[in-house]
């Protein structure tokens, strides 16, 4: 992947071969930090994926096929902790966001390059604690750490994981801060707010949530440590605490965290769809307002996780209403993506297949979220597989599809090489079917009453569990494929050129891979998605 392989490139790319290991580990270049994140995130994705595979294996048999109840509990806890904090939250912002945000606004780097590198080290440091917890025997609290189980009853390595997540939280706070300042202060001449690509809006809205919500998570985890370590009564009623207080604090972070995961995905989908439809996005302003609305209203809906938890009926009523309201901007986005297709000039390269998959699966996840937002329906459905299916449709069907779509879309820009298109399309389609076979049966399981986090289950649930596990094995193959052919492309791929998709974002005006300085001459700024005009 040396720069000399690209005939049109006369400068040294950020990926130039003569950067040594120390150059990489001390780099302040946002592009190389993005690559560092990508390596960490990919590692954790496969680690969490192995846990998911073991879970699905075990659930083939009603009595549990391969492991003990204790191991099972530790496995789903590890899956949740790793996938939420070490994959989903940093996935799009820390990799694609880091790489693209400065390029898209015509900047040379993020506002605080050293802080950016420090964020990566915090992320890795937190990850090491989490892996240490696994090696020390694991944790069995679930990723939600509900008290008083996590503070006074669990005999597993709660401290190590709590410290790991605490540290990683600061990585997310610093990244958010960095991005907010970058968007405010480093936009190039002519890049005013309503010329920002929707990806930048998505990252910006996410950053607001990261900065405002994550400190509450840090506090909550610290309180767990205080109660578990020193017996300070905060959450355990036996010590004079209140277990519902924990749930309020936890979901005050963890519901907005869902929007940390989905807002950047919405941005990615908007970039890809406009490019392969060759049209402006339908309703640009509504798309930006709806992202901001999701970020703000998302802070006011956490109580919908607690409709049966013992919170007051009046609180539940208000949280239910607000949850329906936060669904409106998501609905607007789905309609706008669909309307963007109308009268377009649509082609179906792999990134577009991922983006279309994202819209469809996100919509199904969102619609079932409406069902759960109604407290009367949440009573039977909460804490069952219906909820599991719902949030996997949003986070895996939504965020992961968009993340992979984004990786494919910008792969030529990031590496300078083209991946094999046929394999990429095949993987996207395989994942779509594998995903639906895995998670659609889980909606039915939840409606039938199978509770979540069950190591064993009643025999009548077996058929649906087998279908789900079969789907999971297809999905696993689907996820392995990009790992293989993308690596393959680094050695055998065709050179991509600066703008293989004939796209309009500023990032396509520089070379692939970009030089350290990003732009050798100032990029030409126009409206975003000017697909009706020729590329500059």
């Amino acid at each position: 992947m040396s720069a000399t392989a690209h005939p049109e490139l006369s400068v040294r790319s950020f990926l130039a071969r003569d950067y040594g290991l120390l150059d990489w580990l001390t780099t302040r270049d946002h592009k190389r930090i993005a690559i560092l994140y990508a390596l960490g995130i990919t590692f954790f994705f496969f680690l969490g994926g192995v846990a998911a595979t073991l879970i699905r294996f075990n659930l083939v048999e009603p009595q549990g096929a391969i492991m003990s109840a204790e191991t099972y509990n530790k496995t789903f806890t590890f899956h949740g902790v790793v996938m939420v904090w070490f994959f989903l939250i940093p996935s799009i912002p820390a990799t694609l966001g880091n790489f693209l945000l400065p390029l898209m606004i015509g900047a040379r780097d993020v506002a605080f390059p050293r802080l950016n590198l420090a964020s990566w080290y915090l992320y890795i440091g937190g990850g090491l604690f989490t892996i240490a917890a696994l090696l020390a025997g694991g944790v069995d609290t679930g990723w939600t750490f509900y008290t008083p189980f996590s503070t006074m009853f669990s005999n597993s390595n709660v401290f190590l994981v709590v410290i790991g997540v605490f540290i990683t939280g600061f990585s997310s706070i610093f990244t958010g801060l960095n991005f907010i300042v970058t968007v405010h202060s480093l936009r190039t001449r002519g890049m005013h707010w309503f010329r920002l690509p929707l990806f930048v809006w998505g990252i910006y809205a996410t950053s607001l949530v990261m900065v405002l919500a994550t400190p509450v998570l840090a506090m909550t985890l610290a309180l767990i440590g205080l109660e578990r370590g020193l017996g300070v009564g905060v959450f355990d009623p036996a010590l004079g605490g209140d277990p519902l207080l924990f749930q309020h604090l936890f979901w005050f972070y963890s519901h907005p965290a869902v929007y940390i995961m989905i807002l950047p995905a919405m941005g990615v989908a908007s970039e890809i769809i406009t490019c392969f439809v060759r049209r402006r996005i339908f309703g640009y302003r509504f798309m930006t307002y709806s992202m901001l609305a999701i970020a703000v209203i998302g802070f006011l809906v956490w109580g919908h996780h607690m409709f049966v938890a013992g919170q007051s009926v009046y609180a539940s009523t208000l949280f239910s209403l607000l949850s329906f309201i936060v669904a409106v901007p998501s609905a607007i986005k789905v309609f706008n993506w669909t309307a963007t297709l109308r009268k377009g000039d649509i082609s179906f390269e792999a990134p577009m297949l991922y983006a279309l998959g994202f819209v469809g699966l996100f919509m199904l996840g969102g619609l079932t979220g409406l069902i759960l937002a109604a407290p009367a329906l949440d009573i039977p459905l909460t804490d069952t597989y219906f909820v599991i299916a719902h949030f996997h449709y949003v986070m895996v069907g939504g965020s992961v599809m968009a993340y992979l779509g984004g990786i494919h879309y910008w792969w030529p820009k990031i590496t300078g090489w083209l991946y094999p298109e046929g394999w990429a399309r095949f993987a996207a389609i395989l994942m779509f079917f594998g995903f639906n076979l895995t998670f659609f049966p889980q909606y039915l399981l939840g409606y039938e009453g199978m509770p979540r986090r069950y190591f064993s289950y009643l025999p009548e649930f077996q058929l649906l569990n087998i279908l789900s596990s079969a789907g999971a094995s297809i999905l696993a193959v689907g996820y392995l494929m990009p790992a293989l052919y993308l690596l393959w492309s680094l050695r055998y791929g065709r050179a991509a050129g600066n703008n293989p998709w004939d796209a309009r974002g500023l990032e396509w005006q520089t070379s692939s891979p970009p030089p350290k300085e990003n732009f050798l001459s100032p990029p030409v700024v126009r409206e975003p998605y000017a697909y009706h005009e020729a590329a500059p």
Partner: protein, 314 residues
Amino acid sequence: MNRFHLFLTQASSLAPQIDALFWSMIAVCGLVALGVFTAMVYFCIRYRRGSSADRSGAHQQSLGVELTWTLVPFAMFVGVFLWSLFLFAQAHTPPAQARTFYVVAKQWMWKVQHPAGQREINTLHVPLGVPIRLTMTSQDVIHSFYVPAFRVKQDVLPGRYTQVWFTATKLGRFPLFCAEYCGTDHSHMGGSVVVTSASEYAAWLASQSSGGTMAQQGATLFNSLGCSGCHGPNSAVHAPQLAGLYGRPVHLEGGGSVIADERYLRDSILLPHSQIVAGYAPIMPEYSGQASEEEVMALIQYIKSLPSATEPPR
């Protein structure tokens, strides 16, 4: 592999109503999803690159269209919200004549006591057609009482009472689950609810030894734990009278009042100093750690059984 049924049994009075809302939502969401998918597929085929479809006059924004698909979903959401609210209120309002059963959850079992005093573990016998209210608490971590066939679920917390109610409308045995993750044997913390006819239920009660009704057991505890020394009818100590207390408002020292429900009675036994009745000195000892959750429940049932005085206590 047992047979799989698409439609879950409806075995409580609330179940058909909740299902009506559920299937209406499924129908509406299904129509919306179908509409969007159809539009996506249609556009993708008609406007594929190289097709000869007419692409003139493409709008990329329209305030009217945006407002339509903002306000129409919003109006629908408000409708669903109100329908759900109506059912949610019902699910939280047990009928006045509901019989109270007591449930104590612990890692990893459900302990139930009937008002007549009989106890059972991981099984709950209830008569058909009678509203049953469960007053529940946990001895350790959070659990959740979940009977899918009744469409009821309620978390069971340590240190406080939560309640759930249902009227069984179908004879049979229905699975009971713990729905809140509670540790190693969470998935084995289940059992069943057995719905029988009123006469079979009475026969079942008679076949079980009970040691007296819960109120009688509570009366014994009232003496043995020393409650009667102050709260008894002939006590010289200035303590609040308990007859007729249940369900009444209580004026508190320092202003305000609370309804003397089960939660208030429990707190006043275990942690009496948290809410002092107006006009009384805070001299009652704490029974936290002295009385088990089951004993507190028996005491409450005893207090509820005391005949109401003709004049409410001032």
